[in-house]
């Protein structure tokens, strides 16, 4: 009760537009309840220049949605395998479609990757929940790109919020790979418009990653939504 009165009086002391008041309210709440604020745990560099330039890498203690075609998703997983190898950390891949193929992946990366094959989406979400609660891993990948979109849409929206809240309590980066944008709770969204031809199969994979136009859309910076998110993607989330 005391906190509410204080907050109201503080707000009235700083008249301004509505957005300003909301920002003030956020600041007051952050001051009063620091324990519910996401912890700043840094980032996990991906080695993909376009992603690392915008965010420094994957945000730890946050949910990132990777939304692109299945080929881009598989390529991104391979890039992250090299990341965990380079960073000497441990990761888990929850594969909802049992589609992960180890062919061509480096043994060093595979040795650091715990793979969980799940039968359906909800089982995958439960497995992700367990892995996040475990707190031992630096990166948890939830790959749902091979799942039918209808089954994916059956997952309640609050599930993603719960996963986001869970991730906030850890230092792990949580990445959900989907075939189309659908996770409103995601703090960052990564995508690419790239589609490939058969000529790609003759090129080095590292060159394919480097030549792909990765796009990063952080949801919040300093408590405010990025314009690109609101303008370009609000409707997609809805």
């Amino acid at each position: 009760m005391f906190s509410v009165v204080t907050a109201s009086s503080s707000l009235s002391a700083f008249p301004g537009d509505r957005a300003g008041k909301v920002a003030q309210l956020r600041a007051i709440l952050a001051e009063k309840f620091p324990m519910v604020q996401p912890r700043a745990n840094g980032v996990l560099a991906t080695g993909v220049p376009e992603i690392d330039e915008v965010e420094g890498g994957l945000r730890r203690a946050a949910l990132t949605e990777f939304s692109a075609s299945s080929g881009a998703g598989a390529l991104f997983i391979r890039a992250l395998l090299r990341t965990i190898c380079r960073e000497r950390c441990l990761a888990a891949l929850v594969d909802a479609g049992r589609s992960f193929d180890a062919e061509g992946a480096g043994a060093a990366g595979l040795a650091r990757l715990l793979v969980v094959f799940s039968a359906d989406g909800m089982q995958a979400v439960k497995a992700t929940d367990l892995l996040l609660r475990d707190g031992n891993l630096s990166l948890v990948l939830l790959d749902m790109q091979a799942m039918p979109p209808r089954e994916l849409q059956r997952i309640p929206a609050n599930t993603w919020h719960r996963l986001q809240r869970l991730a906030e309590q850890t230092s792990a980066a949580l990445v959900a790979l989907t075939s189309q944008p659908m996770i409103e709770a995601a703090q960052v969204r990564i995508g690419t418009g790239k589609s490939w031809t058969l000529d790609t199969q003759r090129r080095w994979q590292r060159d394919v990653v480097a030549s792909t136009a990765w796009r990063v859309f952080p949801r919040r910076v300093g408590g405010r939504r990025m314009p690109v998110w609101e303008d370009g993607h609000a409707s997609a989330i809805a």
């Binding site: 939304s67 075609s69 299945s70 080929g71 598989a74 390529l75 997983i77 391979r78 380079r86 000497r88 441990l90 049992r98 589609s99 992960f100 193929d101 180890a102 062919e103 061509g104 992946a105 480096g106 043994a107 060093a108 990366g109 595979l110 040795a111 990757l113 715990l114 793979v115 969980v116 094959f117 799940s118 089982q123 439960k126 497995a127 367990l130 609660r133 475990d134 707190g135 031992n136 790109q145 091979a146 979109p149 075939s179 189309q180 944008p181 995508g191 690419t192 418009g193 589609s195 490939w196 058969l198 790609t200 199969q201 003759r202 080095w204 994979q205 394919v208 370009g232 993607h233 997609a236």
Partner: protein
């Protein structure tokens, strides 16, 4: 100096170790295998009501209506004896397992000379293991034993002559005939006995009287039959009736672990493995061995491992008992690497793996391990061994070519039209249409020296309507093995999603 640790009413104490609720009740112990022996031992409350050893069960019940009759458990006696010897071994390496419920300890090489403090410490240690003990210290094993019998709970014999003088002759457990003869002579205590000349006594009563005299004089010396320390951390319990719910098992398991963890700590050991067994009503047993990822003596950690297993356990018959055997190991001393991020809590990770295995099946959790074959998609998931990772191992050069494959498991049967040795048309339940480009064939075969021979011909194809797939022909049957890139499944027939993405927006 020697010490004797004595557990009075040992068999009863062993039976009551995991029955705290019976501490204040009148309890009598009987042996089902020797029913004629009647009551073996009785608790103090039962003794107060007139129950004594040797009475038949009806006689005992006639004296005490509320008497609880317990059956002797040899398994629990073994556990209690192990706990006693472990405690003794903590005092000195020279330990003799003299009999069930007491042991003799040689303390000649002990640096500590504060016997009272040592005894008090051992009593407290055994009390934590729910064993009530008496300890006597004396200059020879027999004197130490006599002191232990009179100890409440610790007695140090400073002057053997004074200590022995007041003792009755029967304290030395002489032969009944000899005791009766001495009584006839008016010899009742040891002071009276040792006042007789030893040589004359032996001449009249034989060598046994000579040995009795030596013991009475506190001069009897004997070497200890030392036992090698066997670190056997086992707790067992037999239920009086079948148990078919998890709660009683968890309750008892927690008590087991409390006791075993104490014993481990006393021996400066930690649990490396746990062998858990539930004997079932049909005579079979459910058995499981758990490896503790990061050996520990932490009760909560060990309990969680077993709890996770019991939560998902379904048995067709009730449990008639429970057994837990802990294999001890030395505590790990792990030096964390500067640039390495090992598991912060290996035991918690082990528990998570158990939960994941219960959720998706153990065959669906683990680290990818390629089998020793060139056959495509021959992998299995094995339990991770993250603690064995070489922190200095270099990632190696990235030599992968092209897009990674997303496999369809199982592969999808397909019909393929071939022209000029190249696939030109694909029809399957997942993808259908004209193939505009293809790479291949990539042929592989193996196992020709075995009955399980295999051969495959693979093609990478690009569909006219977008999408890159891998086709395989196995025994003249085509199938779609997976995709390198595939439009969203909701938009597969059109290319709307991809077009929208190319315009810089995420798919609608």
């Amino acid at each position: 100096m020697f010490a004797v640790i004595l557990l009075p009413n040992f068999r009863l104490q062993a039976a009551l170790r995991f029955r705290e609720e019976m501490d204040a009740l009148p309890v009598a112990l009987v042996d089902e295998q020797a029913p004629k022996m009647g009551v073996l031992e009785a608790s103090s409350a039962a003794a107060d009501a007139g129950v004594t050893a040797g009475q038949t069960t009806p006689q005992a019940l006639a004296r005490c209506e509320s008497l609880v009759i317990l059956t002797r458990s040899r398994a629990q006696e073994r556990s209690a004896q192990s706990a006693l010897l472990e405690m003794a071994a903590a005092l000195s390496p020279e330990v003799e397992a003299t009999a069930d419920g007491f042991c003799t300890i040689g303390l000649q090489s002990s640096r500590t000379k504060d016997w009272q403090a040592m005894g008090t410490c051992a009593i407290a240690g055994l009390a934590a293991l729910r064993l009530r003990a008496q300890i006597g210290f004396g200059p020879n094993p027999d004197l130490a034993f006599l002191a232990a019998r009179r100890a409440r709970p610790v007695l140090v014999v400073q002057s053997p002559t004074t200590f022995l003088a007041d003792l009755a002759v029967q304290e030395l457990d002489p032969a009944p005939e000899l005791l009766a003869l001495l009584r006839d002579w008016g010899i009742h205590n040891l002071a009276q006995l040792t006042s007789l000349p030893r040589g004359d006594l032996m001449d009249r009563l034989g060598p046994e009287a000579g040995r009795l005299w030596e013991r009475a004089a506190g001069r009897a010396e004997r070497p200890l039959r030392l036992v090698r320390e066997v670190e056997e951390f086992i707790e067992e319990f037999d239920f009086e009736r079948e148990i078919d719910t998890i709660e009683p098992l968890l309750f008892l398991l927690r008590r087991f672990l409390d006791q075993l963890a104490l014993r481990l700590r006393q021996a400066y050991r930690v649990a490396g493995q746990m062998a858990f067994a539930l004997p079932l009503a049909d005579g079979s047993a459910h058995e499981r061995i758990f490896t503790v990822p990061s050996p520990t003596a932490d009760v909560d950690v060990l309990f969680r491992i077993l709890h996770t297993h019991l939560e998902g356990l379904q048995l067709h018959h009730g449990a008639t008992g429970m057994r837990l055997h802990i294999v001890p190991t030395r505590a790990e001393r792990q030096q964390f690497q500067l640039f390495e991020t090992p598991l912060r809590d290996p035991n918690r990770f082990g528990e998570t793996l158990g939960r994941l295995a219960a959720l998706v099946g153990s065959e669906n959790v683990g680290v990818v391990h390629a089998l020793d074959t060139h056959r495509p998609d021959c992998i299995e998931l094995r339990p991770p061994r993250f603690h064995e990772l070489d922190p200095a191992a270099a990632p190696g050069e990235d030599l992968a070519i092209g897009l990674p494959l997303r496999r369809f498991r199982p592969p999808i049967a397909a019909t393929v039209r071939v022209m000029a040795h190249h696939p030109v048309w694909l029809d399957s339940e997942r993808v259908r249409g004209e193939i505009c480009a293809s790479l291949g064939p990539y042929r592989a075969s193996g196992g020709w020296w075995e009955s399980d021979r295999w051969s495959t011909e693979e093609w990478d194809v690009e569909m006219e309507s977008s999408g890159l797939y891998r086709l395989a022909r196995v025994r003249d049957e085509w199938r779609v093995e997976g995709s390198y890139d595939e439009p969203s499944r909701g938009n597969r027939r059109g290319a709307g999603a991809v077009v929208a993405m190319q315009n810089g927006e995420l798919a609608r």
